[in-house]
Symmetry: C2
Subunit: 184 residues, 2 copies
């Protein structure tokens, strides 16, 4: 017997990221977790149109995705609470640039992806920015045998239902493998 | 000093879901994890055009999102390994329907969202299906004080980098709260 909850989004957890963009030629960072993957080379950001950052992404057609670790949870949450209209949030971090010149990235985040805006989908209150990854940067410390190790990255997972951040748990199985047992 | 990885998508983990659709009037389920949220009432699916399920979503303009728990990791992985062209994967589950008549849902998944297709974005090899949630169903067992409790749902988190499934970890902080310490 199922209980009906009405329209309740339960597609969580999603990784909390810091989106970097140049707004009025200055680096700005905002925390969001309404993100997604479309195909292996692309990511989407669902950003309320009221945010300061949106104009910078539209103007430059670039942005960055920075993945903060649980150690940065306070700074990350702050970047979701405070608008770049009123505060220079970039002061908290060391900014660097990659191939693109208008996608500021955060040195203190162990993973950074610089992205070119390829499409914007207009939702009633949100801009959905779809970006193609141009290059990815990481700290040596989060690699295991040359592969990015999420257990070392320790991303901050967002759950809307109870407005909480979680860490990543234990590895439970190998993907595209454990189900082979059921193929007869 | 950052290491350059080239184009490497690191926006993980993402929740592994079972997408339900009617294909040729029969329920079919496929495991995907390239998903996202656009706004509070919507979700996106990034689905390779080769998948059997895509035609059903296009034909009926509906689909369901079913969230399997870690206990269903084997069945879930199987639904990503095997095509509905060759196997009737729905046989493994008990199917139910909600308000929509063409969005089959899985009784054994503790969370089910039935969705109306509102937009499809054409990527080179993928259909990006964007759906508006019409109704959400859950098991009583995953509620805490009337709120969906992800620690009870125990979703399967997918990480592409090392092709692994993870569980959710510990709650580390309250969102839109812990950062208030930094507001002076």
């Amino acid at each position: 017997m199922k209980i009906e909850l009405g329209v309740k989004n339960c597609l969580y957890p999603l990784p909390t990221i810091l989106v970097g963009a140049l707004v009025n030629e200055k680096p700005n960072y905002i925390a969001i977790a309404h993100v997604g993957i479309m195909d292996p080379e692309s990511v989407s950001l669902g950003m309320n149109k009221l945010h300061f950052t949106n104009s910078g992404i539209k103007a430059n057609k670039t942005f960055s995705v920075n993945i903060p670790s649980t150690k940065l949870v306070k700074e990350t949450d702050y970047c979701g609470l405070v608008s770049g209209k009123n505060k220079n949030k970039a002061d908290m971090f060391k900014t660097f640039y990659g191939k693109l010149e208008t996608a500021p990235m955060i040195e203190q985040c162990s993973i950074n992806m610089e992205c070119e805006l390829i499409k914007t989908v207009d939702f009633p209150n949100h801009d959905i920015f779809m970006g193609k990854i141009v290059n990815t940067y990481c700290d040596q410390a989060v690699l295991s045998d040359g592969i990015v190790d999420l257990e070392k990255v320790q991303p901050i997972l967002f759950v809307m239902n109870n407005r909480s951040y979680y860490g990543i748990g234990k590895r439970i199985a190998k993907a595209w493998d454990i189900g082979k047992d059921l193929i007869k």
